[in-house]
């Protein structure tokens, strides 16, 4: 059985950044296993720009952003295998993968980085009433058909869900000559970034129906019509129905971290993020298995993925150099009022490298609010925010000075200023 220092599962932006960081810190035997025919992950189908403002201080397209990392990877001589799907991960860090050249292969690693990204929630998981015709597909699949394969899936389009991919596809399909009739969002606020609402909907006069959902799908072989209704707290209000004649319904109803490998390996997942529970070193409950990027929690900006993955990479190196203490003296990072999740979920103070980024999402919209961070009952700091929304990931930093005294648990809550 072949032995590696580190095996990275997934060659998207997370896997690439982690592998590069690990190699740069002097670890030699690093392998990236990527299921697709190319490195880059989801970035390859995001041909719009808006990537890299933080990391490169310029606006790149997805493929351009990926290319910079792939180039560096080649220069550094990091080993990678394409068309190679990992089928099994074991707690002893042995890994099984398959490809057409080698067949089914078992290897072992001293450390593993999970970087499998996520998958899109689909019509199955949201149980829309009605028929099951063709022409109902996720926005990401339509994006792949269009940007990678060169095929348009339809000409009269409606979009359910205001996630970023849906918004981007509204513009993209319009530019390709399709008519996008509207976007319905069940919540009273958008699930996508503000800039995408403006640049992808408003600029093209595509209406956004907030507090609306699809209540019927009509069509025998191909979708012909949909009915949308206004909702009151998720319940459709009779009499508010609107009908649209369409040939395509795109779904942009959220992403789910792809953790079937992790779950079967016994890695504990967070109910909210649907990604692994990790500590300050991005290590999961299984020693030597780390996670970063969309497999950990859904990111809306690739720059954050890169930063997070570099940090995870540095932790891997510390782990391999026996610089990480075993998990004692853990404090919890707990979401309180208004906070949906926090990441990492646990901190081992003896391993903490400051300044430490804490990522979070709120569970509803707030205006003129404060993020209040406390140690038990003692407030450590307050951060003023004009606007907080579930669609926009927030980040705050913990410094040494924040962590003096006896640490109990770190509680994070949102307080609205009166």
């Amino acid at each position: 059985m072949k032995q590696y220092d580190v095996v990275v599962i997934g060659g998207g932006s997370a896997g690439l950044a982690a592998a590069l960081e690990i190699k740069k810190q002097g670890i030699d035997h690093v392998l990236i296993l990527e299921r697709d025919a190319e490195l880059g992950g989801i970035l390859l189908q995001c041909i719009h720009n808006g990537f890299g403002l933080k990391v490169f201080k310029e606006e790149l397209t997805g493929p351009e952003y990926a290319e910079r990392f792939v180039q560096e990877l080649l220069e550094m001589g990091i080993e990678y295998k394409l068309n190679s799907m990992v089928t099994k991960l074991n707690p002893d860090k042995t890994i099984e993968y398959a490809n057409v050249n080698e067949g089914f292969v078992k290897i072992s690693a001293r450390a593993v980085v999970l970087a499998m990204g996520c998958y899109e929630r689909n019509s199955g998981s949201i149980s829309i009433p009605g028929n099951r015709p063709s022409g109902v597909l996720t926005a990401g699949s339509a994006q792949k058909y269009l940007n990678i394969d060169g095929y348009l899936v339809g000409k009269r389009v409606f979009i359910l869900g205001s996630g970023d991919i849906g918004l981007i596809m509204a513009r993209r399909m319009t530019l390709e000559g399709a008519k996008v009739l509207g976007v319905a969002e069940v919540l009273p606020f958008s699930g996508g970034l503000k800039r995408n609402i403006v640049q992808c909907l408003d600029d093209y006069d595509i209406p956004l129906y907030l507090s609306h959902t699809v209540t019927d799908i009509i069509g025998e072989s191909k979708v012909e019509k949909i009915v949308i209704s206004q909702v009151d707290n998720f319940v459709p209000i009779p009499g508010t129905e609107k009908t649209f004649e369409i040939d395509t319904l795109l779904l942009s109803v959220g992403l789910v971290p792809e953790n079937s490998l992790s779950e079967r390996c016994g890695i504990i997942l967070d109910k909210k993020t649907k990604g692994p529970v990790v500590n300050e070193s991005y290590q999961t409950n299984i020693e030597g298995i780390f996670a970063c990027g969309n497999v950990l929690h859904v990111h809306d900006l690739v720059d954050f993925v890169t930063e997070e993955s570099r940090k995870a990479g540095r932790s891997v190196v510390r782990y391999l150099n026996h610089e990480l203490n075993a998990t004692n003296n853990m404090i919890n990072v707990l979401p309180k009022n208004g906070v949906s999740y926090l990441l990492p979920q646990e901190i081992n103070l003896s391993n903490l490298v400051t300044p430490m980024d804490i990522f979070m999402r709120v569970n509803k919209e707030f205006k003129n609010a404060e993020i209040v961070i406390s140690n038990g009952d003692t407030v450590i700091k307050r951060i003023k925010k004009k606007h907080l929304a579930p669609a926009e990931m927030e980040k705050f930093i913990l410094k040494d000075v924040d962590l003096t005294g006896d640490m109990i648990d770190i509680n994070v809550a949102i307080e609205v200023q009166s």
């Binding site: 149980s127 699949s141 058909y145 095929y151 899936v153």
Partner: protein, 479 residues
């Protein structure tokens, strides 16, 4: 000129076709859809019922028990998944205890042996089913209840029938039947002639029968809706029925062969156009009712919902008989337990009804076995590499949720009764049936279909004629 035309390729038509292929008869199946088994056989609970429940003396009772006893062997011969998981009918109050005691008696009258049915107490129920609802106080235990994989059962029967000489004509909707000295059967595509015609058209049974006879029964579609839970949810070990009511067998919790769990069905008469529609109210009904029998249901793990139509007959029983027009045989009103009963009534149809019209010489080349399907996710590591060494395509995983290789997909396309559509592939090898529902692999499945069938990608359909997924190539792209 054929000896026998079978109209309909659900489990009824499929098992009858295989049964006919034992004899030297020239047989063809006419099916209106793009693929076989797209109606009731596609949307049901997949239960091989024990036979405890039909009213004694009915055809349902007779063929249910016989069918149950034939299923295992049929599944072995045709390599159809079969899970001998058992079942139980639960009771939550004294009235229901009374009902299951009556069912116990009925089961014995129907022919279950005394070791095939038993009343068990709360403690035993709990030990068998940790997630049983707290309110369940007793149950009727049915060890011979099993679970099949319904459309694969139909596909396998048809494939085997075709291996033994039967023909299949898809996208041929029967619209006219004339009785001369033979039958002249007109479809929307072509004309076929035969001495005997078998009407196995599910919910359309009366409509097709009316083309040439004056049926004494009326078939009305009765819809059943379902939720499907992800396969990592291990909710129940066996089939959990509520105590029966006037609405039939009620909302059942059924473990599936591949690990998913089904919650359903509902029961509601609907218009033909509404059969496969799911509704918000139906799905709510399931949630309410299922709570009586099973608890701890993770509703956030739903991967799909669907609906199917039972062919409910005004006679309240199966209609399996030669009509007043000689040679025109009805296999109608095949609602539950039709899936279970099919291998038994197929034998009856051929040996008792068709046989009077022909000499019935055995087909000496008849092979009861279907070539085994290589299912890579059931193989050990070494077996995987053996299959890979025979064919590299077994090393290329296409569907990442279900771990289905290109080799399996290509095989499913190139067999008799092979896949021609995206759903056809999914129904045969489960590529796209997992939690991402084809989000990642659908485009690759389209590529493979187009290559193997030697057609353009734009011509690949989702499930039906006209359900093409790709609309056009974009500017500047070459086909």
């Amino acid at each position: 000129m054929y000896d026998v035309i079978i109209i309909g390729s659900g489990i009824s038509g499929a098992t009858i076709a295989r049964e006919l292929s034992r004899f030297q008869l020239k047989t063809i199946i006419l099916e209106k859809e793009y693929d076989v088994a797209m109606e009731a056989t596609m949307a049901n609970s997949a239960i091989v019922h024990s036979g405890h429940d039909p009213i004694p003396g009915t055809l349902k009772a007779k063929f249910n028990i016989l069918g149950n006893r034939m299923y295992k062997q049929m599944s072995e011969e045709l390599d159809i998944p079969y899970m001998a998981c058992g079942g139980m009918v639960t009771a939550i109050n004294e009235d229901q205890v009374h009902l299951i005691e009556e069912l116990y008696e009925r089961a014995l009258i129907n022919g279950l042996r005394s070791d095939e049915v038993k009343i068990i107490d709360q403690e035993t129920v709990r030990s068998l089913e940790p997630n049983i609802a707290d309110g369940v106080i007793k149950a009727l235990h049915l060890p011979t209840t099993a679970v099949t994989f319904p459309w694969e059962a139909a596909i396998a029967n048809i494939e085997n029938a075709m291996d033994n000489g039967v023909e299949l004509a898809l996208e041929n909707k029967v619209i006219k039947i004339e009785k001369l000295d033979r039958f002249v059967v007109t479809t929307d595509k072509s004309v076929y002639e035969a001495k005997v015609v078998i009407n196995a058209t599910g919910v359309y049974g009366t409509d097709v029968a009316k083309l040439v006879t004056n049926p004494h029964f009326e078939i009305r579609p009765r819809r059943g809706e379902y939720y499907v839970l992800d396969k990592d949810v291990r909710l129940v070990n066996s089939v959990i029925y509520p105590a029966p009511s006037e609405k039939g067998k009620g909302v059942i919790v059924t473990p599936q062969y591949h690990g998913n769990t089904l919650l359903g069905p509902t029961s509601e008469y609907v218009a033909f156009s509404e059969i496969s529609k799911t509704t918000a109210s139906g799905l709510e009904y399931i949630k309410e009712n299922v709570a009586q029998t099973v608890q701890n249901i993770p509703y956030h793990k739903i991967v799909r919902s669907f609906a199917g139509g039972r062919a409910t007959s005004s006679t309240e029983d199966f209609v399996i008989e030669e009509s007043e027009v000689k040679g025109f045989i009805n296999v109608c009103g095949i609602e539950s337990p039709g899936l279970t009963a099919a291998p038994a009534f197929a034998k009856y149809v051929v040996e008792e009804l068709v046989s009077v019209h022909f000499e019935m010489k055995p087909n000496t080349d008849y092979n009861p076995r279907r070539r085994k399907v290589l299912r890579t996710n059931e193989l050990t590591f070494d077996e995987l590499n053996n299959s890979f060494h025979d064919n590299q395509k077994y090393g290329r995983i296409i569907c990442r949720c279900e771990k289905i290789t290109e080799g399996e997909i290509v095989d499913a396309i190139n067999r008799n009764c092979g896949a021609r559509s995206v759903v056809g592939v999914k129904n045969r090898v489960r590529a796209g049936a997992g939690r991402c529902q084809g989000g990642f692999c659908q485009s690759e499945v389209i590529n493979i279909l187009a290559r193997e069938l030697k057609v353009d990608k734009l011509d690949i359909v989702y499930n039906k004629a006209g359900s093409n997924i790709l609309k056009e190539t974009t500017k500047g792209e070459q086909k």
